[in-house]
Symmetry: C2
């Protein structure tokens, strides 16, 4: 008998790699933060023992979900301004609110609220894109979550930095501060082609190249963006970035809504990644990303929530479901984006986009024990012919009972272990009152 840190006996284990596999009555064995074994519960009882043995017999263990694009601090703007034109939303609401409120205190509070929401919905890792990256990273570190934090850059001043040089310096400091962190990696996060000059893109690329980091950027979110680039630069935004040499296997193209075949081809050729944010794209009326086409062309497609200001939740279960059913209608093919592929998008493909698929994204021996455990025995989950179908088409985030990051339990039977929910609730309401008054 080998003594290990943790054993979880589960109704089902769904490792994602291989695709479509469902292991009934299996156990997951964790030691030193990593998955040591996955085996039938009967064999497990003969081979391993642990003081921390948990029974989740009416549940499925899946890899922790990866939110491959979000702006965490904006959770404090959830529902602040909906049902508005993009111009009105940005110019009259979001930007003024950011200008007024965005400071380290706000950023830390918003990040904690976002992390609590993500952990409560089975998300173990997020890819962050916002100013004040250092504060976001430090808050994430404190709360034990995995993340890729982008060093932000835009051609305009924000409360975080006044010019490109400062953004770049801050990004490099961030990279160095977290270079050997066990859970936090970094990326370069220029805002978008329409808000970053060629020179600033070159500076971003230099940094990304030097440290071999992902370049995380909003691409072709709207038709307006594409048309503007054609007018100003004579080429589509993605072509412009390609001419600048930015597109490679570490390029993360968020949204990718207004994509034609040449755009998809370009990303496929360079082994770049798409992050699909279906609910944000619908809510902001950006359009319908050609996701099945992109998958068919061989592009790795991950899933993101975007911010709680344009979604309005950080809920990858809802995002998986929307992605899976939307892809069918968009491609006029009910066999498009089947459940197992949607789950892969929300897990392993996210890890690939962030360049951490050697560490996480699937339940495999020696990978980190990043887990979401989902209750599948409420009447809304019955009958249960196919657990993967149920997870994608009939599960809500509230069915997540447990979340583990690198072998450490952060949610236990829906209770957050490192975050005081009552204090967080009080903080969110206090911010709400301040922000409402400022409107």
């Amino acid at each position: 008998m080998q003594t290990v840190d943790t054993i979880i006996h589960a109704g089902f284990i769904i490792p994602v790699q291989p695709l479509n596999q469902v292991l009934a009555k299996h156990s997951l064995v964790i030691n030193q933060g990593k998955i040591l074994d996955i085996l039938p519960t009967q064999s497990c009882n003969n081979r391993y023992q642990s003081k921390n043995t948990q029974e989740r017999l009416n549940h499925a263990i899946i890899p922790g979900l990866i939110n491959a694009h979000t702006h965490s601090p904006m959770s404090l703007f959830r529902g602040l301004a909906d049902d508005l034109s993009l111009d009105d939303w940005l110019n009259s609401h979001i930007w003024p609110a950011e200008k007024q409120w965005s400071n380290p205190e706000f950023i830390a509070a918003g990040t904690e609220l976002a992390i609590a929401e993500m952990l409560r919905s089975g998300t173990t890792c997020f890819n962050e894109h916002y100013p004040f990256a250092k504060t976001i990273a430090e808050t994430t570190d404190k709360l034990g979550m995995r993340a890729c934090i982008g060093g932000f850059l835009i051609d305009f001043p924000t409360n975080d930095a006044s010019d490109a040089k400062t953004y770049i310096n801050k990004a490099e400091q961030l990279i160095q501060q977290f270079q050997s962190h066990p859970l936090i990696t970094t990326a370069i996060a220029p805002h978008a082609p329409y808000s970053v000059s060629d020179d600033n893109f070159k500076a971003c690329f230099k940094l990304a190249d030097q440290y071999q980091l992902p370049l995380h950027i909003h691409i072709h979110e709207t038709e307006f963006e594409v048309n503007n680039s054609l007018k100003e630069h004579g080429v589509r935004p993605l072509q412009r970035l390609n001419q600048l040499g930015l597109i490679n296997q570490r390029f993360i193209s968020v949204h990718s809504v207004c994509f034609d075949d040449s755009d998809i081809q370009l990303l496929a050729e360079h082994h770049a990644h798409i992050v699909h944010c279906p609910k944000s794209n619908l809510k902001l009326a950006s359009g319908f990303a050609p996701i099945q086409k992109s998958i068919n062309a061989g592009v790795n497609v991950a899933l993101g929530t975007d911010s709680a200001a344009s979604n309005n939740s950080l809920d990858l279960f809802s995002e998986m479901q929307t992605a899976a059913i939307l892809a069918k209608a968009v491609s006029q093919n009910p066999t498009a984006l089947p459940a197992a592929k949607a789950l892969e998008m929300a897990t392993l493909n996210g890890a690939k986009a962030l360049g951490i698929d050697n560490i996480t994204g699937s339940l495999e021996i020696n990978k980190a024990a990043d887990l979401a455990i989902v209750h599948l025995n409420d009447i809304e989950s019955l009958p249960l012919y196919d657990p993967i179908s149920q997870l994608v088409y009939a599960t809500t985030k509230n069915q997540v009972t447990d979340t583990w990051v690198a072998g450490k339990q952060l949610l236990n039977n829906r209770k957050l272990l490192l975050i005081n929910e009552e204090r967080l609730r009080i903080s969110a309401v206090a911010w709400q009152e301040k922000i409402s008054k400022g409107l």
Copy 2:
């Protein structure tokens, strides 16, 4: 002090009529099944007393949701067959399963499962379209839910009836059996234009006209259906039904996906109703219904889940959210279908479609006390700038704590009061095992 049956003190009351109204710190007073008063909690305490006083101070009371199109018994086929072409789905899975299993015992079990799911997600009324209507209606009666049960007809035999005459007879018996029922109304439910002959439509119309009942039918779900009708009948399906005299203010056009301006105009002119089923339409790759256009033309649009076999849940919160964000992308306008309108679709507009808006669909004095109470103080609902936005864009069905039908509480703090959940779970699993073996 007046003594009344029930008083509920709420954080918010959202009556839906008038649109966009949010009453903070109000109380809802129920007597003899009806709403007696809605007033500030402070005044309520001076005016009314009740042995049954409930505090829901972190919650919103909204009208009970109305699922304006579903096939309840199919909940037992939830997740049985997903990600398939429509042909494969129907011919190789759903129809054989129905042929094998559809009998009164299956129907009653499936209906109970569906009703439990609907009550747990704030739905107080549903519009049913399936064979064995008598069994569905009797099960619904037993469980205390409100419903409009359609007398089903199709040109083909089912386990319920072998020919049109039998379907029509059964429909008339159903109508008469429930003619003075306090909660159950009836409708005529011919399947679809492609599966019902002109003669049988005339028989349906005769019955609907005689009893002044709604005609509840699938319309223009797919392009294939429209093209086929053009080939066979020389006109679009809706035009054919119009020529047969079927379209009037009691006509309920479900799906209405492949609608051109003439289709919308036809329904608008006749004050007919659309039931939008966005998730089913996406999942089956049927297409994108022009909902904002239909609303703009003055058509009353309600919301339905379709069956759990094509959705895969009976969750109007998810449906409201999908409808609201999808309409924005389809109409390329982020101001389309704002939150308050989506909530109206899921409540008052459903009641209008069923012809029961004098009884239910909004929280107004003298209407039935059909209520859903939603917890809005979890961190996923904070900050709470706008409760209506939160309900539509950031609420899951699991936040529903209480459901009341006609002044009777059927769900209390997430516990079903008339349904034994454990027994229901055992029944669903037993059906799953039987049906799986039969595959």
